[in-house]
Structures are given as C-alpha cells and as structure tokens.
Symmetry: C2
C-alpha cells in the first residue's frame, strides 16, 4: 500500500506560522463580534442533500461533495444504480449518497434556526466560524476547503440589523488590517429592490433581470462602456440599454452620491421612497460607528450573485486587490423555506481566506511579547537531572513563559540556530554540572 504525502487535491495543510496568523485573525473577529452581542453557534460540516440542492446555493450547488451511503443503504443504492442503466452520473451519484458537505454557512444557519428557534432569542445574532467545501477547479488562492466567518441577525426586520452588521464587520476588518498598516477600505451598500426598480424603469422585462445583473456585475472589470456593449451584444434593445447605463453614468457624475436623490431621478415610479431612506439612515448610523478611514457609500451597481437576497446588499473592497473581502445582504424569505414561516434575516460574511492572503502579502508578524526559553539537555551527562530541569520549566511556564525542553543534539549549533529562528531567545545547554539560569 502506497501512502500519499500531499493533501487531497485543492486542499491545504497549514504550517505553524500559517496557523498563528489564522488563529490571531479569528481571535480579533471573535472579540469584535462578541462586543456587538453576536454569539457563536456551530453546525456539522455534513448536511442533508435535500437541503443543499433546493436552489438555495445558486451556482455552488454544482460544486457539492457528496458523501456515500454505508452498509445496507449503500447496497440498496448500488442495486438501483445497476438496474437503471440510463441514469446519468448526477442522478446515480445522488442515489448513492445520503449527505454532502456544506458549501456555505447560510443554508446550515437557516436549518439550525428552524430547528432551535424556541431556544433562541429574537432577534438572534449569530456568529459562525467554520469550514465549507466546494469542488471548484483548484487555482491560486482558491481552495476546496476554506474557512468562512459569518454574522447574521434573524428576526429583526428593521435597518438596525444592517447597521450592526456593517459596523461590526467594518470594525473587525479595521482592527485586523491596521496591524499591517492599512486602515482604509470601501464598504459598498446597495439594494436589490433599487436594482430591480432601475431595470424596470429602463424598460427591461422581469425575466431579463438575472442576465442583465450578471452583466452589470462586471462593471468593475469591463467598465461602463463594456457593460453597455455586452448588453447590446446579448441582444437587448439599444434604447433600453442606453437608458439603463445612463442611470449609472449620471450617478457617477453626481457629487452628492445621495441614494434618495438618485432614486428620485431614475426609478421613483417603480419603487417607494423607503429604500432610499433606508440606505441614507444605514449609512449615517454606520458612519457614526466606524473609523473615518473607512469609505462607506451607496453603490447602485452592486449586484451580489446569490438570488436569495431581498433588500439591502453589501460588499467590501480594498485597494490593490480585485476581489471583495466581505459580502452580504438581507434575505427575508430563506428562513421560511425551512421553518414554513418567514423570518426577516440579514447577514455579512467575511472572506476569511482572502483576509489571510492580504495579511501575508503585507508581511504580518506576530507581535510577540511572550518570553521563549529552551533547555537542551545532554542526555549522557545530565539524564539524572531531567526532573530538576522539568521542575524549573514548570515554574517558568506557570509564569507565562513559553518553555521547550529537548535533548541536546549532536549538531548543537544547528539546533540552537533553528530555535533562534523560531524566536527562542534564552537557550541553555544543560550538562551534568550546569547551573540552571
């Protein structure tokens, strides 16, 4: 039997220095969200296949890792597969599986809330930190198992939920990034209702919205003219397209960047004033809570891919990186699919792996005030003294010092150098007659 040394394709091993950074960032996130009254919950990494394939996950549903049935259930499944020669791989695969690995933390949260709602406060402020799995094509910086940090507020229909989520996420990221000298980033706030109203006002039909939004979402990459050209190439009426793109052009040139005024000028006939007022109030309250270095703005071009969003949507971008580092929004109708009864819900998810990438790029170093000490014991002359050495180590550890005790190696010079590289500043070789420092 040959053993394989590398991790499973697309997955990561973490070296000690990786884990130090990850644990540090998670600590800041937990502490910040704790101050906002979010409480951490946990769900299994496996979910019922039925819950994951109900169109809650959009494109991610294609990337599910399915877990095989076992024992008699597997036998039954295999029999079925052998009898139905015509079944495609997807169908046959599902016959043989009874669960799958979660691809996000939102579906498990909705299941969890519906299962435990009688034991949870309303509104419920949940923090989730957990691994999710997607059988994506592996590429640089993209992994098949990765960590997500989500906060969600279930049961608050008011904009207070949005304000808390934006402020908490911004503050957590701010605290993380200032350590590498970056204090600013941009929080984009949009609204699905405004997005739809603008499309309607430009003359698009409702069944065209999805494709129009997918193209609009490329604004960052292909620019305003690129969006216009691609919409026209996709066969949309040039008049509608020009009107639609004109809205965004107008907003770009509007110095006030005011959401209410923008709605008034573009789609007031299609939408109440509520969405504009909401955004203004959200921006104003969040502004009062977060660092001045953070840009906070209404962004009518913001799309966010997940179809379950029903209102406000958010995204955070940072200079010099083309990807977003956090995203979320309001999804008032998803919990209802599990509970049978709708509950207002709003969430914000940090792209944890991307944060780690940036922190590493920018050269984060552990701020180590911890004293590190090593005793290297010569096992020939001092093996009778190890109890003394360990007793000394115990006393120092009790005082908070990080202490390593190990046999002195033949190549002592290399051993000492290695420990120095790891930050051990007090290194003592212990022979039979050595006085302990």
């Amino acid at each position: 039997m040959k053993f394989i040394q590398t991790p499973v394709k697309g997955m990561q091993d973490f070296l000690p220095e990786d884990m130090t950074l990850r644990q540090h960032v998670l600590g800041v996130i937990r502490d910040t969200y704790g101050r906002y009254g979010f409480t951490q919950i946990g769900t299994p990494v496996m979910e019922h296949i039925e819950n994951l394939t109900g169109k809650n996950g959009g494109e991610n549903e294609k990337l599910i890792f399915k877990v095989e049935k076992r024992g008699r259930e597997l036998e039954k499944g295999l029999q079925k597969v052998r009898q139905s020669e015509s079944a495609g791989a997807d169908e046959a695969g599902t016959m043989l599986a009874d669960s799958a690995l979660r691809y996000d933390l939102t579906v498990p949260l909705c299941r969890y809330y519906s299962n435990h709602k009688n034991d949870l406060p309303t509104p419920f402020k949940a923090l989730q930190i957990g691994d999710v799995f997607r059988a994506d094509r592996p590429q640089k910086g993209r992994f098949r198992q990765f960590t997500q940090c989500d906060i969600d507020i279930i049961g608050d229909p008011s904009i207070m939920a949005e304000i808390e989520l934006i402020a908490a996420t911004s503050e957590a990221l701010h605290r993380i990034f200032v350590e590498v000298g970056v204090s600013g980033f941009t929080v984009h706030v949009g609204d699905r209702r405004i997005l739809r109203a603008m499309a309607k006002s430009a003359g698009f039909d409702e069944d065209e919205y999805d494709e129009v939004f997918i193209i609009l979402d490329k604004m960052d990459k292909i620019g305003m003219d690129g969006v216009r050209d691609e919409l026209i190439q996709s066969g949309y009426d040039a008049g509608k397209v020009e009107k639609y793109v004109g809205f965004f052009r107008m907003f770009r040139e509007d110095e006030t960047q005011d959401a209410a005024a923008f709605i008034e000028k573009t789609c007031s006939g299609c939408i109440g004033e509520e969405a504009g007022r909401d955004i203004a109030a959200i921006l104003s309250a969040a502004r009062a809570m977060i660092s001045e270095d953070i840009t906070l703005k209404f962004d009518p071009t913001l799309v966010r891919g997940m179809s379950y969003y029903t209102g406000t949507i958010f995204e955070i971008s940072i200079d010099n990186y083309s990807f977003s580092i956090a995203g979320g929004g309001r999804y008032d109708r998803m919990v209802g699919r599990f509970c049978g009864q709708d509950a207002p819900a709003c969430g914000f998810s940090i792209g944890f792996e991307r944060i780690i990438t940036i922190m590493r790029d920018l050269g984060w170093k552990e701020n180590s005030d911890i004293q590190k000490k090593a005793y290297l014991v010569d096992m020939k002359s001092a093996s009778g003294r190890i109890t003394d050495v360990f007793a000394r180590a115990a006393a120092e550890r009790a005082a908070g010092v990080r202490v390593i005790v190990q046999p002195l190696k033949k190549n002592a010079k290399f051993q000492v150098e290695t420990l120095e590289k790891e930050g051990y500043t007090h290194i003592q070789k212990v022979y039979g007659d050595t006085q302990l420092d």
Copy 2:
C-alpha cells in the same frame, strides 16, 4: 422540495451556550500547550482513501465516510460498478470515491509531517484541534462528527517526549476541571513492550497477544476474575491464564507500585531493564511538574486499542466516569510508512467531547466579568435618534462592554426578561425624549 430541520444523523448543532463552553475549554488547552512550546497545525478534513485504509486506523477504518468522485471520474466509476456485478458494496463504494473524511488526527499528522518535514523543526511539537468523523452507531454522548485535541512530538526518541506530553495534558485538564471544583484525576502509564513481555512470560504465543490484550482491556469492567474466566472460555490454557492473571494480582497487592520491581518479578527474562527505568524516570519527572491532586501511576493492565503503539502508552481516567478522558502513546514506526524512513513519535489525545460532557454535568458557568448592556429603541418615537444610540454603543464597545441595540418590541416585558436571562444587566428603553444613561 422538503427541507429537513434536524442535523444529519448522529451529528450535533451547538447552541450559543454550548459554543461558549467549547471555546473556553479550547482556549485553556491552546494556552497551556502554547507554554509547552507546541505549535498548532492544520490539515484538511478530507484525506486520500489510500491513506485511511492502510491499517493505520484499526477498527476505525470500518467507520469511514467516503466522498464520491465527481464529473467524468464518477462516470468512469459508475461504468466500472455496472460492469462488475459481483463487486460487494465495500469494493464498489471505493470505486466511486476518491477521498474520505478523516477518522482521527494521527494519520493526517503522519502524512503532514512526511510532506513538510523540511520546513519543520526537530523535534516537532504539534498541536492539532480538529473535527474527525466516524460512521458509528449513534448513541448517547457519541457523535459521528466530534472534536479531537492532539499533541504529538515527532523526532524525539527520548523519554523527554513522554514527560512533556503527560505534563502538558495533565496541566491542561487540571486547569479545565478546577473550574468545576474537580482537581484530581488519574494518569495511567503503561508500556506495550512490558505488556508483550508479560504475555510471553506467561507462555502465550505471539499470535495470541492481540486477543489476550482485548480481554485484558476489560479489567475495569469485569475485574480480575472476569478476565481470567473469559481467557479460559476463549480456550487458552488454564495454567498460562493463571500465571498471567497472577502477575496483575501480585502488582495490585504490591504497595510500592514500582515498575522496575514488577518487571523483575514477572518478565525480566523477556525484556531489558530499559522499559522499567523509562517508566520510573517518566513518572518522577512528570510528578515534579503537575499538581499533587493528580494521581500518576504505572498501570501494567493498560492496553490501548491502536496496534500502532510501540512503547509507552497513557490514559487518563476520572472519578465517577467510566470512560477515559485522554489517551496516547509512542508510535515509532507509523511516520515511516509515509516518509519511507522511521521517525520516533509520541502523542497524547484529549477526548474533547467527553471533557465537555463532564463540564456540563458539573454545571460549568461562564465567569463573566464582562459588562453587558442593551438599548431597546422605540422605532416610532426614536427612529431619528438611532445614529446617536449607535454612536454611544460604539464608544461603549470600544471600552470592552458587550452592547446590543435592537428595536423595542411590543412585548417589552418579555424582551427585557429574555435579555436578563442572557446576562444583560443594563437594559435601557430609548424613546424620542429618553436621556441615554
């Protein structure tokens, strides 16, 4: 499509109070092990099937969750399954899977070490905290996904590894349990070499050892006579059995409990003096490091199930609970199966879920010095003031206070009571004219 509210069979959702306890215990474990110089690493929850089915996992290999292949690989696998009608479920299941969920942290550690050994110090002191998966029959307190906390030292052939592992694990558990008023437990130290030497000395053949040890392992439950009876019922020669059981009876009556003397009397012909000296030195050094309330003893009846152990073995038991709460030992030949070159290794694993069970049984409560404050805003009269309220909340959060801001509900009395139950002591209702506290 019907959604399922409960977790996948045998798996757990964690409520906020569960997670508070779990995070607290993990924090103590991380801090303690950190002082001993263990550094945390991480591996994916998925492993290559080849690595998990190489007889490294003993009985656990039967409990593997396999992950289905995808796309063209799945198609090829299905074709193979349809063509080989005679293949059993296990064989067919493996044709369709390319990875599986890890059932412990030891196999992934060996793979990890072999993959990264050039980037790691020697000896390497690893801390792993992660979830493992076993398709066990679900029962009370036993789950199909559960957390393990392992420390391992790879590359130290000396007893210093054992001493560090025993002291670190004992200290972590001591710090955890004193919070619920329990300061004592028992650390059992045995040795596979002594176990085998005793069996040889009693006259058993080498191919009988495994079964003999399985029966010996039941000593706790069925007692000395029970072990004797079961050995005889299993067809072993009564003379050998009496001699064998006599060893343990003698040890039980020996007040000194001295390992070296015991070996001298029972199996000195089958084993060098080394094992006895090792155990004495380990017990003496560990004794100097840990609380006097912890019992530390040589236990010749200790077996530990995993066949990969080659020397010292450990287990921790606690009064009033029949299960062990930690276990481990030396496994000098397992890393070699991955590396192609043996490396000495020794590990100690905390049964994290069992610790949690005990802490909950004994009524652990969060020691909360954190101030908790809630603002309940009347959205009719005070919606224009939310920016002020949030600014106040931000200032208090910056000072470390846990602050919740939420809309005042119609049933304000119930809302306040719920928050009080969660530990919120300062609760203020905010109307249009309320002066903020």
